[in-house]
């Protein structure tokens, strides 16, 4: 603790997991996450842990399902296509309330795509991902330092709520090198206490069953309802985010992971030019900082979502603000925008903002078609081409 080491993102992730108590890893090679299993293969045995190169991602996740059922702190990692294969097993873990931790070092898709960074797996991460009704905790680091320190958080949350947790990274975060500081003492697995659901060594107690099914009439719904309650609690308590220069911002750029770093550069350029732009970065993608964004929508005038995907992340932002504010999208599906390109998008979005809200909200006044009203109104006017209407609203 305390010292800074230069590390590659994937290795920091692996080391962070081990320091957080991980003693079991199973995985299958796929670029750009190969350094994770490679690192684990020499490092884990040193710590008395188990590393298995599985025959496939499917086998790897099911080894995790088995290991997790014993209470072991276990981990798997992969990149997009491999995570797709793991989804059935992740769904079983969620359905059996087993805690474990995994990482998706996302690459370009769909299909075999490419091996560069992308954010195309947003939906498959925050919407559960596999079959059935469930969630996984999703943390999105944007630096190698966070790659190193988030696994501990992931384990804590996974074990507190008995559910899978994941890190959503990408090829850039996995491959780049940065100084890292592990901000916690290594966790000794011997300090973990049994919670009462773990399998194995049953002397003196009743048998335990780990399963994700219940065929009895009405029972599955009860189990899922209890899980929903847990999810609600998590949404209340566990949201993490970062807001920079948002207090006076007229335009708030919303981005996570790698694109939030690029967006930060663009925000700086904008501020240098005197534009009132802020940056909001969700750190937990599920639970999503809905309330925080909704609040921000009250005081700023526009949001711009920057994402390295077609417009997946923007869905959650729009749901959070519920039409209260205009949300622009700068989408780069399997593309990596430069700071300048992103700044250009910021500037464009900024300049096309509707005029500042009228000083008096004039709740009683008739809001007929006045400039400065939300776009909603003019759009209602029948017969007018939408484009023209929008232009009318522009400065």
């Amino acid at each position: 603790m305390g010292e800074k080491i230069l590390m590659k993102g994937n290795e920091a992730l692996a080391e962070g997991a081990i320091r957080a108590g991980c003693r079991f890893f199973s995985g299958y090679p796929i670029t750009p996450q190969n350094e994770v299993p490679e690192y684990m293969s020499w490092r884990l045995p040193d710590e008395g842990g188990t590393f298995i190169q599985a025959e496939s991602e499917v086998a790897a996740i099911n080894m995790i399902y088995g290991a997790a059922s014993t209470g072991m702190r276990c981990m798997t990692s992969s990149s997009s296509p491999g995570i797709s294969l793991k989804q059935e097993g992740i769904s079983y873990c969620a359905g059996a309330d087993l805690p474990f931790f995994y990482a998706n070092v996302v690459r370009g898709g769909p299909g075999l795509g490419n091996i560069a960074a992308s954010q195309g797996d947003y939906h498959q991460s925050v919407r559960g991902g596999g079959h059935g009704d469930y969630r996984v905790l999703v943390l999105a680091p944007n630096s190698v330092d966070e790659m190193a320190n988030f696994p501990k958080k992931c384990y804590e949350l996974a074990f507190r709520y008995r559910m899978p947790s994941m890190i959503l990274a990408d090829g850039i975060l996995g491959q780049m090198m940065e100084p890292v500081e592990f901000k916690f003492e290594p966790v000794d697995p011997k300090s973990f206490k049994e919670a009462g659901w773990e399998l194995g060594l049953a002397a003196g107690r009743r048998k335990r069953i780990v399963r994700s099914y219940d065929l009895r009439e009405g029972e599955l719904e009860k189990i899922n309802a209890a899980r929903l309650k847990k999810y609600r609690e998590i949404e209340e308590k566990e949201v993490l985010f970062e807001a920079k220069q948002c207090d006076d911002a007229e335009l708030v750029v919303v981005a996570y992971g790698t694109s939030s770093r690029i967006a930060a550069a663009a925000v700086k350029m904008a501020r240098d030019k005197g534009l009132k732009v802020g940056l909001f970065r969700p750190i937990t993608l599920w639970p999503f900082p809905k309330k925080q964004l909704a609040k921000l929508a009250e005081k700023s005038r526009k949001f711009l979502v920057v994402e390295m995907s077609m417009g997946q992340f923007v869905d959650d932002v729009r749901l959070a603000v519920c039409g209260r504010i205009e949300v622009d999208l700068y989408a780069r599906p399997a593309g990596i925008p430069s700071g300048e390109e992103t700044f250009a998008a910021v500037e464009k979005s900024y300049k096309s903002m509707t005029p500042a809200r009228a000083a008096a909200p004039a709740k009683t006044a008739k809001p007929k078609g006045k400039p400065g009203r939300p776009r909603k109104k003019p759009a209602k006017k029948a017969g007018r081409p939408a484009k023209k209407t929008r232009k009318g609203g522009r400065r």
Partner: protein, 255 residues
């Protein structure tokens, strides 16, 4: 007079929900007895498959986990490597083990994972309603080959013991049957040995049991027993396909 066959401690005392004449029940009793007789019940974790024996997690009186279709050996691997003191077994049907889970089967054998696999070969998909299995015989009717399995269309049945035989990692492979009482007794010996091997850390053990599925075969239980003797056994010969002794001899010879 004294009761000579008490309910095995390795099985929970409850009615089994299998069809009349189904071989699963016989193998359940055998496994339950072995857990008791070997004194391993309290440190055993069983893996229930997807298939008719999905309910094995209720039946076996030890810690149980039910997992995705075909992945039993991978799940067992995760448990065994996490808690090596535990005895871990995977109980699987032929669709589970020889079709969707074939990779897990072969690779856990190749890794010589120190686990025990109980493989119920009833040449059909029981739970989903009698579809063709990888082990369905040529000419055998199933709901997805209603005119009988035609090798030109459906290919040939897979013989698991023969297939795994070539793997150095497979420590013990035996095929038995439960279509007669005498064969059930032999099956128990094999199952016991498969657990004993794990206790002695000898690596991957698998017992393939030819088993009746009267419902899937659309036959009476008595005709099902005959079907095993007349049709299945010629294709799936009973016997030991690999044993730890064989391996020890070989390794000793090589040294």
């Amino acid at each position: 007079m004294e009761l000579v066959n008490k309910w095995p401690a390795g099985l929970v005392e409850m009615p089994l929900r299998y069809c009349p004449g189904c071989g699963h029940g016989i193998v359940h009793r055998i496994v339950g007895e072995c857990l008791e007789e070997l004194g391993i019940r309290e440190r055993t974790v069983g893996v229930a498959p997807v298939g008719c024996s999905v309910f094995a997690d209720d039946y076996f009186n030890c810690d149980m986990i039910q997992g995705p279709h075909g992945r039993g050996p991978a799940i067992a691997t995760g448990i065994k490597r996490s808690k090596p003191e535990c005895i871990v077994f995977s109980y699987q049907g032929d669709g589970d083990l020889a079709s969707i889970g074939m990779a897990e089967t072969i690779h856990s054998a190749a890794r010589s994972e120190n686990i025990t696999v109980i493989f119920i070969n009833n040449a059909i998909y029981g739970m989903t309603g009698g579809q063709m299995a990888p082990t369905t015989l040529i000419g055998q009717k199933a709901s997805t080959c209603p005119r009988g399995r035609d090798p030109k269309v459906n290919g040939y049945p897979i013989r698991i013991c023969e297939l795994l035989q070539s793997l150095e990692g497979a420590s013990y492979l035996e095929r038995t049957s439960v279509h007669t009482a005498a064969n059930a007794i032999k099956t128990k010996k094999a199952v016991k040995r498969a657990f004993q091997n794990q206790i002695e850390c000898k690596g991957f053990s698998l017992v393939e049991v030819l088993s009746m599925c009267p419902t899937g075969w659309e036959a009476t239980p008595l005709n099902s027993v005959k079907y095993i003797a007349d049709k299945m056994m010629p294709l799936y010969p009973l016997g030991v396909y690999r044993s730890p002794e064989q391996r020890e001899q070989k390794e000793g010879g090589a040294a």
